[in-house]
Assembly symmetry: C2
Homo-oligomer: 657 residues x 2
């Protein structure tokens, strides 16, 4: 089992492609926008109150707490995203400036981060506790109702923000606050007598403590995370025994009426869990932490348990876009092969969680069963969560949208017909910002002798003695030019991921075809990299129809279109009414203008008289235009579909006729 450490965000620069563009947009537009929203400085959107809550908690303002118990986490996630934006100033010639000179954007961000760190310091209690809801509403309820009060969840995001801020800026002020809070939590929770033998209903503190441990090297944070990971699911159930807090009810994200331990993955100890259940984000965050524990303690058994859960979700419970969460109720998983693209939930944060979980698996094992899923989620379920202008966001990410249905049917009312400027629970906007801005650090895993290339984007990186550059239009095309050089003597091991979607590929090193079988989907080159080596990847990337496993009842007889990692969809803006369209079973697919795709299809015409009739509908040939899923809904509300029914010939092609 490997133990790759997390790379520093500053060490990998992305210089182009979709991800370059999105990172530029997010750093330049989204991060400032969210920052303003959290300060209630954006007109016409719902109030956040997030920063104001801290001003109230610090005693500077006299008001009531505003929002949900999870509200602090929005700011912390933004602080992490803003720190990452700082690290990214050189990319893409941002604002036309290069080098170390501070941009005005960065000066603004740096100042705001400093101001916020000062505010947090003023709010923090002497014992380190720092949660505005409980500071404002009464500390007697501190650490109560952990099932739904999100206290440790919020704390976790503070820890993550602090670690990232420290990695990027080298400044310790936020890290000190986080460590003080970490110590406070450590004094309150643990196996020892007198401590709370409990955990949070929404996992997050666990993975954050591991990050704090890895940043500071202080064992206590790791030990505490270990405790949380192993404690969850033990009997008697903590949530049945903990100190309740009825006051909090009005501010809960939601409250499940039943004693549903599955919802928070606390129905069984993680080692005994065989199926992924419950809230999709909670699950992904928890299993991420469980992966960390397995890696840090080289615990093969725990790895296998978490690997089994990964396979359960990715082979039975994941939508084509990498979205997870089949049901609005509990924002949760349901059961194997239940993947209704219309009724689903598919929270942006859940796809992000899946990506992160995959990455923490990849730190142990260079297997494309992790990186393929991460890429699927990234280019579809995650990127689809943010608008082209960087200021609107999806919370839910269905594979089929009928605005009329969503507006008029209660059972579809959880789906947004358009990306939103803000939310009552604005967890997704800062989460997508921090994920995309940290994408560069997930592109590789490396050690002194090893470099594993997981993802492709024009970029330059200096990591663990390796210098690696990529030039590519990926995923618009499958050609990638790699330049790899390694300081030091002797052979180095380079692994290059050949994506699972790729059926044919050629890899050349210095102009010569590289032969070799794939190991877990990675091509291994073991040689001397002390001189710059040029490696060309040519990943065949045709347009393809994709079918779901026959056990997915809702997708029988249906197909979707993909090209490489990109899932395509149809929009009403291009095709008119979508629900009477079908793909021609043997129909051609070809690239159209502006990255769109044209597919041969049929449109049902009629029957039109009466509600029910013996008259067969007519089908007429019609070309269908598709565009990448992540680009949908940038032209107003409208119908959207990913899967369409296929019509055609039995077991044969039209040509055979």
């Amino acid at each position: 089992m490997k133990n790759y450490h997390m790379l520093r965000p500053s060490d990998i620069k992305i210089t182009g492609g979709i991800l370059g563009e999105k990172r530029r947009l997010i750093a330049g537009v989204t991060v400032p926008y969210i920052g303003n929203a959290l300060c209630d400085e954006v007109a016409g959107i719902r109030k956040s109150g997030s920063v104001e809550n801290f001003r109230i908690a610090s005693g500077e303002v006299r008001k009531e707490f505003h929002g949900l118990v999870s509200q602090d986490s929005d700011l912390f996630k933004w602080m992490e995203a803003a720190s990452l934006a700082l690290a990214q100033q050189e990319e893409n010639g941002f604002l036309g400036e290069k080098g170390n000179k501070e941009t005005s954007r960065n000066m603004g961000l740096r100042a705001r981060l400093k101001e916020l760190a000062d505010l947090l310091e003023r709010c923090q209690m002497k014992d380190g506790y720092l949660n505005t809801y409980y500071i404002i509403n009464g500390l007697k309820h501190k650490w109560s109702y952990l099932k739904e009060s999100c206290q440790l969840y919020c704390a976790g995001h503070l820890l993550e923000a602090a670690v990232t801020n420290y990695e990027v800026t080298g400044e310790r002020s936020l890290l000190e606050i986080a460590m003080k809070y970490g110590d406070c939590i450590d004094r309150a929770f643990g196996a020892e007598e007198g401590k709370i033998h409990g955990y949070d209903g929404h996992a997050e503190i666990e993975l954050a403590l591991y990050r704090l441990y890895e940043a500071t090297g202080m064992d206590k944070y790791r030990d505490l995370a270990d405790f949380f990971v192993e404690e969850r699911g033990k009997q008697p159930y903590f949530f049945n025994q903990e100190k309740g807090n009825v006051d909090v009810t009005g501010n809960l994200v939601y409250e499940l009426k039943e004693d549903d331990f599955h919802h928070s993955q606390s129905h069984l100890p993680v080692r005994e869990q065989k199926e992924v259940v419950g809230h999709a984000v909670k699950a992904a965050y928890f299993y991420t932490a469980a992966a960390d524990k397995a890696r840090l303690s080289k615990d093969e058994k725990l790895y296998e348990a978490v690997e089994g859960l990964w396979e359960d979700v990715t082979e039975k419970k994941m939508f084509l876009t990498g979205a997870i969460g089949s049901s609005e109720y509990g924002e949760s998983f349901t059961y194997a092969y239940d993947l209704p693209g219309d009724l689903m939930y598919g929270e942006t944060c859940a796809a992000i969680g899946l990506f992160l979980w995959g990455y923490h698996m990849l730190r142990m094992d260079t297997d494309r069963k992790y990186s393929d899923v991460m890429e699927r989620a990234l280019f579809n379920g995650i990127l689809g969560g943010i608008s082209e202008d960087g200021k609107k966001f999806f919370y839910t990410n269905p594979l089929e949208m009928d605005p009329e249905r969503c507006k008029k049917r209660k059972d579809y009312s959880h789906l947004e017909t358009e990306r939103q400027s803000w939310f009552d629970c604005p967890c997704c906007p800062p989460n997508i910002a921090r994920l995309i801005l940290s994408f560069n650090r997930y592109m590789y895993t490396a050690s002194l002798g090893e470099l594993n290339i997981h993802f492709f984007a024009s970029s330059a990186a200096d990591i663990e003695g390796w210098h690696v550059e990529q030039r590519t239009e990926y995923p618009a095309e499958g050609k990638i030019m790699l330049t790899v050089e390694r300081k030091g003597e002797g052979k180095g091991r380079l692994r290059i991921r050949v994506p699972g979607w790729c059926e044919n590929f050629i890899i050349k090193a210095d102009g010569k075809k590289v032969e070799g079988t794939l190991e877990k989907g990675y091509l291994l080159m073991e040689e001397d990299f002390s001189h710059k080596k040029i490696i060309e990847l040519d990943l065949d990337m045709p347009l393809k129809k994709v079918y779901a496993n026959g056990r997915v009842k809702s997708l029988a007889g249906k197909a979707a279109v993909m090209r490489g990692p990109l899932v395509y969809c149809l929009e009403q803006a291009d095709n008119g009414e979508l629900f009477d369209l079908f793909f021609k079973e043997t129909g051609k697919l070809e690239m159209g203008e502006d990255g769109t795709v044209l597919a041969e299809g049929y449109r049902m015409a009629g029957p039109g008289s009466g509600l029910y009739t013996y008259q067969k509908p007519d089908y007429r040939e019609e070309n269908i235009r598709l565009l990448p899923y992540y680009r949908w809904n940038n032209r107003g509300a409208g119908q959207m579909r990913v899967f369409l029914g296929e019509r055609g010939y039995l077991n044969g092609s039209e040509d055979k006729r």
Copy 2:
């Protein structure tokens, strides 16, 4: 505009066929079963408490009220069904006895009805008020919270039971109680100052008062019904102004959080309503009453309004089975062409309500747009509501069932995977009993010179001077032998419905083909019927595929199978897994054993490896067995589908190849 009166149940005897069988089952098994359930004498089912509530209200028992505020209505509906069962003793040689001699069953029913009438009399307040919830919990809340307290709804069912009981038995004891209650309501409600200018959230009292008026000839009941019909929907909204009653909350059927006047059709006066909205049962009962008002006052404008609403529901919002109510939320209609057979509600009572509404339209206008829908609902959506053993019932009647989905997904949890022995809200069991037992009276409308034959079943009737007999296996076959004779001289007008589903038919009178165009779907014969005339109908009844209007998004590319009025469905018990089956577009349909149908189809095989794949699924030919929808779910829980996707050739048949 016609004004046919309702025929007496005793005047039409049904002697065979499906309906004969079901009536025998319901009179012999279902009515006693429900009677026992209401007395809490059936072991192993949920408590009803319905009769016990009356014992508590009478002071004989000291206990808490049990159940919902609508609980009284269950008993009243049962009393109506039991009265009808009494009227039906001669049919089918029930219990092997013929003639007027009382069967032991009837003696039992008669005694129980008498006992219950006595109990009701003991409960009734001096002013006539009779509602156990409010008698037990405090009369200070009488007539409060009419929006959801079901007081007048319950009263309406008492009135209906009393009228039917009087029609069948000639005894007045129950009728007196009903009239006394009617008088009490009349003193409380009305346009006059000092009275409540309101109405019930659940329509029913209106149609019941019209029945009481027609049975007693007393105008006050009709005037009060007129008031209720016209008052609903006036502004300011009554439900915003009425006396609240918070105590009732725990016993409500449900409570909508919003001020949703659409739910109870009280958003607009009925004359201004253009679209059917809200709770499907409430809607059907209300429009039934509005039809009564139109008929009794010969109000063409009101007729047109209600006709428009009928067309809205039957041409845009009705499932193939005659089920209505597309959404569980509010048990309600949604919007035009929103007919999802899987997520739908389709309450048995709503299909019954649609049938009754259609009948009251038919009393004004002999148009098959009413009787066709009634027949569709009867043989599918209504008959499907009761099990073959007569002791289990569906509340919801979907067109697609996947038991796993219903058990594991919250958004499908309103659907029962199997018929239930009893319900917390057991409105459907006695309702289906009273509907089927009163079916005979809806078969015809008649006046001295006119006889309109709406429905077909082996039967004999003496109505308004007409003697009419039917011999047929309908709907198992389309041949009907009619014998018609009329007392009196001169020409009579006989109208025979030619069902809308029938494309070819031959009608012969005394062996000679009758020519003539259909008027509103009825063949008119105007001649002397003073001598017995033998009329043979041969309605061509092939197996047919049926398609929904192209605007029904959820049914694009799908077909169902019908034969005559019967909708067919597939069950897992016959076909295994159903969600990978398709009809062959040009495939044959043929009758199989025991009333089943065989259809040529395809089964998708695979793809089986991985969750998503480029591999196309295979399709294999497979025969599909179907059975009439009303017979589904008599072999345990399992998948069921009515509509299947069709696979085949574009705009052509396989034969053309």
